[in-house]
Amino acid sequence: MGFGRSLVRVALSGVIVCFSPTIFAAPATFVTALPVAQNQALVRFNVQPALGNSGYRSLQFPVNVGYGVTPSWALFVNINEGYVHLDHNQASGGTGDLLIFLRNTLYKVDKPKSTFRVAPLVGVSLPTGGNQRMMNGAIAPGELQTGSGTFDPYAGITSGYNTPRYGAALDATWRYNPIANSGYSPGTQLRADGQVEFTLLPLHLPDEGLPNLLLLSLEANYAQNADAHIDRVRSESANKIFSQDAIFEIASLHWEAGAGAQFPVMEDFMSPAAVKEHVGFYAFFEYYLSTPGWRHRKRKE
């Protein structure tokens, strides 16, 4: 299993979660904490192409939706669509698994010049993707399956620290992938992500008003899949991927957009026939919405 194939597996099975914190700009490559305000929703549209050897080409279109249920509870839904191509006309595409999770801001320290939050999350990945794709009369390798085929528990913890000039975010998530009836499992995944970001422009904030911001977000991702199975036979005992990302973002009052690249730093796979990713790209557009709830509080003196 190669990085590219693992990426395919990860992306199509809906584990790439591109949600964003709300205090500052957003990491482009991972979900983290930070509250979505009560009665607020946000929608993020992503485009994520990637290139690798062995004819590897991938184009993913995750869509992330978040809703603030209460000031401390937020609900997230991640919809995954994508397409993957490998050598020998091996291709796969379509809907991946649907990830739903709840996040609770358990601890927060809001100060005039900084804020810090810790938020655990728990959810489930629904088997909306395909896990029984066939190739040459046999079940296709895991990298061409778009879903895990099972209901997968998902849990993690995330935190963020932000100041007016820079911010940082960390998360660690775990997704348990049991073996599906088809005999396939993409393997249980541990994932950890980190991000630091800096406001590039304006160099000096104006005394009054709310300017749009240009930010640079430097991110790192570590993912480890263990015990992948095909036809109930272990196809991979463990693989590890570490990559770094540089993303420019523009933040405004109602939307945020970003674009950047991902570079693999370490790819440790058991299989010698590994597909290596050369480079990946991220682009996203996010829009914030006020939900329809309508609470009139009219008080005349």
Binding site: I23, A37, E208, L210, A251, P292, K298
Partner: protein
Amino acid sequence: MRARRSILWWASVLLAIPSPLQAVDPTSSAEMSRVSATLNGVFSPRGFFNILVPLEKIEGVRATKLDLKKSLITIDFDPGISVTRAEMRQVMVDAGYRPGAVTIQHLPVAKASETGPGWMLVKHPHSRHSVIRWFQTNF
């Protein structure tokens, strides 16, 4: 004749639509409330949006001024609308932030927000249809 009627029709329509930056009568003796609140933990446009969401749903909020450098929001209410510090703190708590200092001033309407730079009016769509209202609020 037809053209003149058309011009008159459009003129009447335009006059009937209230301008979003409708001038406030400077001779009015009514008072309005201006709230200034420090927002602990808000360092981004997104953070300010989080605060605007509950504000949009409070009738009587006329305009806001957002100052990123000071993490400060200033809110002007329609004349005759009262507000308390506790209510404003609750807005910030609902948005997920710890409220800082909140001050309330009572100013003559002539000092209303439209006279200063950096202010923006808060949308209060009143369509009978919730879907239309939602669109008017968000786009």
